[in-house]
Structure formats: C-alpha cells, structure tokens
C-alpha cells in the first residue's frame, strides 16, 4: 500500500506538486497519466524520497514518513520497501546483469553470494534474460537493459515497485518486450505504481488510472471509466490528443 497525503514539492520558485492525495492499495496496479510537467515523475520520486517532498506524508506499508521531519533511518526503511525502474534503466554500468540483480541482495539484505546468485538467476529467467546474465549493460539493448532493471527491482521482493516511464527511452520495436514483462509482473500481485504514456498498457493492465495535471490529481478511476467517459475537460482534452496521436501511428 502506498498513500500520499497532501504532497507538495517546490523547486525554487516552481511549485511542481500542489497537494497530491491518493492511495494505492496492496496488490493494486495504478497507472499515473498526465501531460509533461504535470508532476507525475516528481511524485514517483517523492515516494522513495529521491526527491524529498517539501511537505506531506508518504506511507508505504507500515512505514509512514512526514517530509521535513524525516530521519535518514525512515527514508532508508521506505527505500527498502520499494524499488524503482527508471526511464534510463540506470543499471550499474560496472556490473554484469547478474551482478546488478545480486548487488542489493548482498549489500542490503545481507544474503550470501550463493543465495543471491540463485535468486538473481530465478528473476533473470523470469524476465527472459537468463542467457545474458554475464553481459555488461553496454552489451545489451535498451529493452534488455530495462528487463534486467525490472529483475533487479523484483529480486529484492519489495512491497511496491515504482515504474518511472519505463518505456519512454526505448526504440518503438523494443517497447513490446518490456510491456509484456510488466504485464507478467502485474499478475504476480505486487503493488505497482506506473508512470507511463502507454495508454494501451494502462487500459489493459491497470486496476485504476490516476490523471494528473498542474501538480494535482484531476481525475481517477477504473481505466474503462476514465478512458471512455472522462468527467473533466482537462482529461478529455488530454485523452483526445493522445488517442489522436495513437490513431496516426497505427
């Protein structure tokens, strides 16, 4: 479960988040949609305090952290309950695929090398990267790197996994392999927060979509409701623009 209470984030003079409130239930898959600059990515980065919120309360499972009064210890706990999949993959460049997955298992969870290796193999196989376990990130395609990134996140057995536009930096023909891996992940029943521009994925996989604009949540609901019967003009406008683009592409 992830809960946001009145999250504010200010960069200099720019207020990016203006009081965000919503909750992602345990095992729920929530896609966060919205135009660029609406604060989706910032919100996701506030979840594990990569960007500490200026104000507000973040809860993951049983850890509640209030921005401004947070301690290193609390932030560390938040980060152990969640992992993140990045737009630019951010695999550790000095390690092989397998070492990437093993790293936090050994360093953070203090598992033995052997046990970590077995876990890493299991998750790499799950994302279809078992045969490339000894490759360095520079030797892998974007899609393959992202699948390793997902395995790295899953292997830690986190309460929630945060996807920050995981397909935005990929070549179009590689998007499919990552999305289908994410669908598999969604089936495992893990809590997922997904910032994405992939409307098809959101419609098909999400339990709920949250539409953000101008630093607040404008609308949320089941994908079918939001996509087919958006209530607010801003949502309608956004969806029209996006589907139009999709229409041209296909």
């Amino acid at each position: 479960m992830i809960r946001y209470e009145n999250i504010h984030k200010v960069f200099g003079d720019l207020e990016v988040l203006k009081g965000v409130n919503f909750e992602i239930g345990t095992g729920e898959v929530v896609c966060i949609l919205g135009p660029s600059g609406s604060g989706k990515t910032t919100l996701l980065r506030c979840t594990n305090f990569l960007e500490p919120p200026t104000r507000g309360i973040v809860t993951i499972a049983d850890v509640t952290v209030e921005a401004g009064r947070h301690t290193k210890q609390q932030v560390h706990q938040l980060r152990q309950l969640s992992t993140m999949v990045f737009q630019n993959y951010n695999l550790f460049k000095n390690m092989t695929a397998k070492e990437n997955v093993m790293e936090a298992l050994v360093t953070v969870q203090k598992k033995s090398k052997q046990e970590a290796g077995e876990i890493a193999d299991k998750y790499l196989n799950q994302v279809g990267m078992g045969e490339r376990r000894d490759y360095y990130p520079s030797q892998l395609s974007g899609g393959q790197q992202q699948r390793v990134g997902i395995a790295r996140g899953l292997a830690l057995n986190p309460h929630a996994i945060l996807f920050d536009e995981p397909t935005a930096a990929l070549d179009p023909e590689l998007v499919g392999e990552v999305l289908s891996t994410m669908k598999e992940v969604a089936k495992t029943g893990i809590t997922m927060a997904v910032v994405t521009h992939e409307m098809g994925f959101a419609r098909e996989v999400a339990d709920r979509v949250v539409f953000m604009d101008g630093g607040v949540v404008v609308e949320q609901g089941k994908p079918a409701e939001v996509f087919d019967h958006p209530q607010y003009p801003r949502t309608q406008q956004f969806l029209r623009a996006v589907t139009k683009k999709d229409g041209l592409a296909s």
């Binding site: 594990n48 990569l50 560390h76 980060r79 152990q80 969640s82 992992t83 993140m84 990045f86 630019n88 951010n90 695999l91 550790f92 460049k93 000095n94 390690m95 790293e103 936090a104 360093t107 953070v108 969870q109 360095y136 990130p137 520079s138 790295r152 996140g153 830690l156 945060l162």
Partner: protein, 249 residues
C-alpha cells in the same frame, strides 16, 4: 674507474664558403664515452629511492585526493573555503618552494617528523602537492558518473556510502585512469626536485658524479635516459591497464 680532470674543449677556425677565413670558432667536444656508460650503474643504484618516492607519494596522494574530493562535494561553506584554499596554496606555488618550506622550515619543528628519513619527508611534500592536483581529477570523474547510478543505488536500498563504494567510485576510477596516469608521470618527474633537499635519488647521485668528474654532458645524458626509460615503462603499463579495463565494460 679513476676520474681525472682534463680539458675537453679544443677550438679551431673554419673557412667560410667564399674562401675568406673568418674568426668563427666552433667548440669541439671530446665525448667521454666511458664516463657516459660508466654513469649508468651508479645512478641506477639509486633508482629504488626514486621509485619508492614516486609510489609512496602517488599512493598517499591518491588516498588523500579521494578523501578531499568527497569533502569537496559536501555543501558546508566553511569546508568549501578551506578546500579551495588548500587547492590554491598547493597548485599556485612552486613545488620547489613547498619542498624547502616543509623540509627546512616546518618538519624540523615537529618532533615526530624531525628525525624521519629525508625520503619520507620528501614523499610527504609530494603527496600533499599532488593530492591537490589529483583531487580535481577525481572530483571531475565522480561528477561525470551519471547521477542515475547513485539514484539506482538509493532506490535499491543502498546507503550513500555503499553506493559510492560499490558503484560510483569504481566507475569514476575507471574514467579517471588516463588523467591519473598523467598525474603519476608528473609525480615521478617531480621526485627529482627532492634531490635539492638532500634525498639521494637518481638526480642527486648524478649531480655528485658530474661534479666529481666535470663530465656534465655524459652524466646528465645518462640520467635523463634513465628517467626516460622508466617513463616509457610506465606508459606501457598504462596502456596495458587501459586495455584491460576497456575490455571489461
């Protein structure tokens, strides 16, 4: 080998093309081959001093510079000012002056260091000076590692320290190897300056030989060839290291 003082310079006048003899004088020098070849063995016998100073100074400068680079990245104002002053002091003054100041001025005042061998004192000076150069190298390398690498570490639950140790510093180290090797070569060459404060390295040994025999050309040619040969060796090692690391990732 007995060394005697001799006169080596002979002069003769040479005719100019149009036939008129002018008073142009060219000095002809009898190159004392035995002094040249004979100089290598005694100079090379001090090679270990040069090498020990080079490695001792470079390794301690490296450790110091990593610490300095970490310190430099903190946001504390006072620390920043002290750090800038440190850099400016060591990079903005001649190394020779620093050596004299430390070895003749400061170290004799400090009880623990007063009686240490000169080679140690010289190495400390070099380490201090080169840490200032190298810490800029290291800092640049750390900052050129993609920010996302540290974010990925944090998001996986690693602490900042673990992230630096396991991911950022290894990458930064690799990025900085060419520049560090340049620092190493500079440091190696700078050890010759320590001869001025009395460390019997290759340079001081050759100076003593030359002063004794008056065969300056032969002896200094020999010492410069020795320095150059060592330099070539280091460059070769650098190439091997770079090649090995390139093969990795």
């Amino acid at each position: 080998m007995p060394l005697k003082r001799q006169t080596y310079f002979h002069s003769r006048s040479i005719p100019v093309e149009n036939g008129k003899e002018k008073g142009a004088i060219i000095l002809y020098y009898n190159f004392g081959m035995e002094y040249f070849t004979g100089a290598f063995a005694p100079i090379a016998s001090c090679m270990h001093t040069t090498l020990i100073m080079t490695f001792a100074a470079f390794i301690s400068a490296f450790i110091l510079s990593v610490l300095l680079a970490m310190v430099a990245m903190t946001k504390n104002r006072v620390v920043q000012i002290l750090f800038k002053a440190w850099l400016s002091l060591f990079r903005g003054t001649p190394l020779l002056c620093q050596l004299f100041l430390f070895c003749f001025g400061i170290f004799p005042l400090i009880p623990g260091i007063r009686d240490t061998p000169l080679i140690f004192q010289g190495s400390v000076c070099l380490a201090l000076a080169y840490s200032a150069y190298m810490c800029e190298t290291i800092r640049g390398a750390i900052q050129s590692v993609d920010k996302g690498q540290m974010e990925a570490c944090l998001s996986c639950g690693l602490t900042k320290g673990q992230g630096y140790r396991r991911v950022v510093l290894p990458q930064a180290f690799r990025l900085s190897i060419p520049a560090l090797m340049n620092n190493f070569i500079d440091c190696f060459k700078a050890t010759a300056l320590c001869s001025t404060v009395g460390v019997t390295d290759m340079m001081l040994r050759s100076k003593m030989l030359a002063n004794k025999s008056y065969h300056f050309l032969e002896v200094y040619l020999a010492v410069i060839i020795l320095y150059w040969a060592l330099n070539m060796l280091f460059v070769l090692i650098q190439k091997v290291i770079e090649h090995k690391l390139d093969a990795k990732y």
